[in-house]
Symmetry: C2
Subunit: 319 residues, 2 copies
């Protein structure tokens, strides 16, 4: 997928990468963040959410981690002929509820119906616009050696929840997707930092490792993670061991990672922990001097292991 | 489809209608137009275009007819596993070319792959933002009795071109989709009018009749059309007769209809005719005093026929 986007799709539009978000200057002044995501999660309903709130939260989060205030979403529906009306209504209500809670409005929409067998129930695209306050400058180019790497919550719960539902597995206690809008959390972090938040990302598809690897490449730095500091719920840890998965490769939908200056890291961590979505927040590592773009995991015994994006999709259709 | 959107989808978001476009005020000042459309056209390639340029032009046109200058698009791709790479590249090049010609940039994208048989080759969502210059006020509430109804080009060519390709029909001369970006045409119309352009629309799915019926409902007026004035290419007319279709119900992708004050209608018509996309432009009727929200067709013999949206989809997956 990464290769497809890098080698085929992005070059067609004269870009090195076709990121799912962009910040743009407007003719009328001000900066706008713009993002799009299509959702093809299977199954459509899973513990903790459905494709509807996922589609709203995912796009809100893409905007929020850019430092934008999410304002408006569009929703494009592709429905399979005969899709049950009560499923559709449940999904729409979940979208409306998620939008209300995130403080955004769904202002435009489009619906297409395709014949039976030509799509898998329902796909949703949400695009979003947000306003980037002046003074907000986030990006990999801000990253300095010594910066701390924070995560706001335990890893891998969304991916495991969807995968379990898809395969008819149940865990006790059940594993519930973390699907949530992160814009409130982001605002509280920006409020306590004194410019030390370098960048944020929400580690969805491919999990935390994929996101950190992208950050390492974009910043031309090494990121070093301490294994013991990485928060994972015991149930998710157990499920991952059972299934041969690494929770750091599994998708999240309500977690962000932030790269923060040493000076601001304590206040930002504290603000995370104060927020309902950040109770398990932790400093999990730091940015190193080396410019080898590697993500290195330190084990409790001091050994170092290189982490990389997976080739192939470990958990397809997770979002 | 109209009922589904009106009775299920829009109410979920506390709206009467979930239009595919919206105009928004920005915190930084200025007005922004926002739109989304998903494209599921089948087949993906048709005479005169493919799903790629269709997806760019369609969204550019949604913005343009709101009086917005289209600026930036996002593109969300859903691909079926095993989708041929050379098809993908052709489609992407068509998108890039259409964007360049329309003067917009594709700034963010997302790609999802679903397993074989779970989507029909490829679906594309494009969302777009445009800048609405101050002073532009378009909308059904501006419409007055006596206003003229203009169309910029001959009707039904896109729908017939796609339908012919889908069913292996060929016509001589071939019928070529009118897929084109209308923003240049719109700018030239706005430039010559002195505020008399009340509203514009691009009659896509459901054709001109569906669009006029929506305008009649929104403006609470009757619209009267003179059958002999409606431009239709002879080949499209012949194909429609053969197939039992009405060209006024067939989709267009490079035509706009404008409601224009009597004072401005001559200049706007002239500006249309000067533009490469408007050579067949015509005044086809006018807005009447009656508030019965009807669309009435006057035949050459003076008879009146009510026109209405079709129930059911005459030509599904045409865009």
């Amino acid at each position: 997928m990464h290769r497809l986007v890098r080698e085929v799709i992005a070059p067609a539009f004269d870009m090195h990468e076709l990121s799912d978000s962009a910040v743009l200057d407007l003719p009328s002044g001000g900066r706008l963040a713009l993002t799009t995501d299509s959702y093809v999660v299977s199954p459509l309903f899973f513990p903790g959410g459905n494709i509807g709130d996922l589609a709203v939260c995912g796009t809100v989060n893409d905007l929020a981690v850019m430092g934008a205030r999410p304002l408006h979403l569009t929703a494009g529906f592709i429905l399979e002929e005969g899709f049950p009306l009560d499923f559709l209504q449940k999904i729409l209500l979940a979208m409306a509820d998620a939008a209300r809670r995130a403080g955004v409005r769904i202002v435009a929409g489009d619906t297409k119906v395709v014949d039976r067998g030509k799509c898998d129930g329902m796909f949703i695209n949400t695009a979003g616009v947000g306003h980037v306050p002046s003074g907000i400058r986030l990006g990999a180019e801000q990253i300095q050696p010594g910066d701390r790497i924070l995560v706001s919550g335990p890893l891998g719960t969304h991916g495991i929840a969807v995968m379990a539902e898809r395969n008819g597995l149940s865990f006790h206690p059940p594993i519930i997707s973390d699907t949530a809008a992160l814009n409130g959390l982001v605002e509280s972090l920006l409020a306590v930092s004194s410019g030390g938040i370098r960048m944020m990302r929400d580690p969805t598809r491919g999990g935390l490792v994929t996101t950190l690897k992208e950050i390492a490449e974009e910043s031309n730095r090494r990121l070093e993670i301490r294994e013991t500091q990485v928060p994972v719920l015991p149930g998710v840890q157990g499920a991952c061991e059972l299934l041969g998965l690494d929770p750091m490769h599994v998708a999240n939908e309500g977690v962000l990672t932030a790269i923060v200056s040493p000076e601001d890291s304590r206040d930002v961590l504290e603000a995370m922990k104060q927020h309902p979505l950040g109770k398990n927040a932790a400093v999990i590592g730091e940015v190193r001097d080396e410019d080898d773009q590697k993500v290195v995991l330190r084990t409790p015994l001091g050994a170092a292991r290189m982490l990389d994006m997976l080739t192939g999709d470990q958990l397809p259709r997770i979002c």
